[in-house]
């Protein structure tokens, strides 16, 4: 899909009436298309080519890439740094901001810097505890939490003010996202927590890995009862599991990821477990897209990033749409010729 007002790489689209940003992700969601986002694992290096190589594997299949911010409390290239590289050639990253490592002064500065570079999407997270990462001796900051972070950035954007009340001359035009995990207790509170995030400013939601469809349906039904589904775009998280052993390890060692026995059994019973993991992911995407209020999927394919294109292709959710990537329009023209 080519927008008629498609800009040069690195330039923003014009902001349409009713939109908050000139970003492609918001455009796609508000136009009612099924959006696809993916997780971009940051490199442990200072080489920009490492970032570009990781981004390129998603070319033509995703509407946004999440630049993670020290996920799992492990040290990697910063999300701001990755976004600087990605926006430079026109990619549409989702800049993740975690409250674990920075206080309100640093975070608000990053928001302005990110928006100035062309970041149009920000995902507000509390962040993993430092104890789960490679620097457990680090000082946890947690000056804000995901909720007050959302409210802070919304105030910056809509009122042109810092948290202190000081004026911002050109506010950051960003589409605000938040995370949700319907698969962790207390289950009854989860839809209300999403309601709080929406009240604090969340416009889109990316969820934790979704393997338990009945639990997710229940969550969405409660959210609909609370009137949330018309206020927010929900992108459930999916991803391929490499084997039954990996899935079991993740289930036992990564807090917050719930993988039902049936999924592990299906993996264990397959001849090619990796292929089966991808098939399960495709099946889940197709099931999820039928659920009321689901606006897209967020694919987290850690160490299997190269499989995302095939998964999305085979799931058929893009319906022939080709999301923007550097050089896309020239290629499409060539194909047509």
């Amino acid at each position: 899909m080519i927008f008629p007002d498609e800009p040069n790489p690195g330039e923003m689209l014009p902001i349409l009436p009713g939109h908050t940003t000139g970003g492609r992700l918001e455009r796609v969601l508000r136009a009612g298309h099924f959006a696809v986002t993916s997780e971009l694992a940051p490199p442990d290096s200072a080489n920009p080519e490492d970032v570009y190589a990781r981004a390129r594997v998603f070319d033509g299949y995703v509407d946004g890439m999440n630049a993670t911010d020290g996920s799992g409390a492990n040290c990697h290239m910063s999300s701001v740094g990755m976004c600087a590289l990605l926006t430079r050639i026109g990619y549409a990253p989702v800049m993740q901001v975690s409250c674990r490592d920075k206080n309100r002064i640093a975070i608000q500065g990053d928001v302005l810097g990110g928006a100035a570079m062309g970041v149009t999407n920000i995902l507000c997270l509390s962040g993993d505890g430092v104890q789960s990462g490679d620097h457990p001796e680090a000082k946890p900051v947690f000056d804000l939490d995901s909720m007050s972070l959302l409210e802070t950035i919304r105030t910056m954007r809509d009122k042109s003010e810092f948290l202190s009340g000081r004026k911002i001359t050109d506010p950051p035009k960003v589409f605000l996202g938040a995370a949700a995990n319907p698969f962790a207790p207390p289950y009854d509170f989860r839809p209300h927590r999403m309601a709080k995030k929406i009240a604090a400013g969340a416009q889109f939601i990316q969820t934790q890995y979704c393997f338990d469809i009945p639990r997710f349906k229940e969550f969405m039904a409660r959210s609909r009862d609370l009137g949330l589904l018309e206020k927010v775009f929900v992108l459930p998280g999916v991803g391929p599991m490499a084997s039954a052993r990996t899935a079991t390890w993740i289930r036992n060692n990564v807090p917050g990821i719930h993988i039902p026995d049936a999924v592990i059994k299906r993996l264990a019973g397959a001849q090619d477990q990796k292929k089966e993991g991808q098939q399960i992911c495709i099946d889940l995407i197709q099931e999820l897209r039928e659920i009321e209020g689901v606006s897209g999927v967020h694919v987290m394919a850690y160490r299997q990033e190269e499989s995302v294109a095939e998964i999305i292709d085979r799931s058929g959710v893009l319906e022939g749409r080709v999301p923007w990537y550097p050089g896309r329009d020239q290629e499409l023209q060539k194909e047509r010729a």
């Binding site: 509170f189 009240a199 917050g256």
Partner: protein, 157 residues
Amino acid sequence: MYSVRLWTVRHARFFERVYNMFEPVLVKLHPIWSKLGYDRAEKPMSKIEQACKGLLFDCKMCGQCALSSTGMSCSMNCPKNLRNGPCGGVRLNGNCEVYAEKRCVWVEAWDGSRKMKNGDRIFAVQKPVNFSQQGSSSWLRVVRQIAQREEQAEERS
């Protein structure tokens, strides 16, 4: 103490009632606090508050008590200091992602809030903590605000 903390949350309704009786008494004593000077009352009062709430709730004296909005479970005991609800890392048994042997502060908070009369306050978005108020008495701050509001209302009428 951890076990006491769990016990008070189980009796969140009772402690809600106790506080609702206690607060008006403190407000009635406003003339004393003003005569004494709120700043001078601060030191002994914060000591008393710390002793009571420390024992009952493992209070961290953030100075902006939100217990009434968090099911009587002190959210400053969350290793991420979350003021607005549980993170996504809560274990299937309801324990904390960081301290696997402890209950999640917010799982407790949700249960406590369901027992309270005004438990739905848990749905309100909490402002970020003002760290310059750390260690100060939350009671005195609340009383001062209420008393000032009442005085202003009287002046207007």
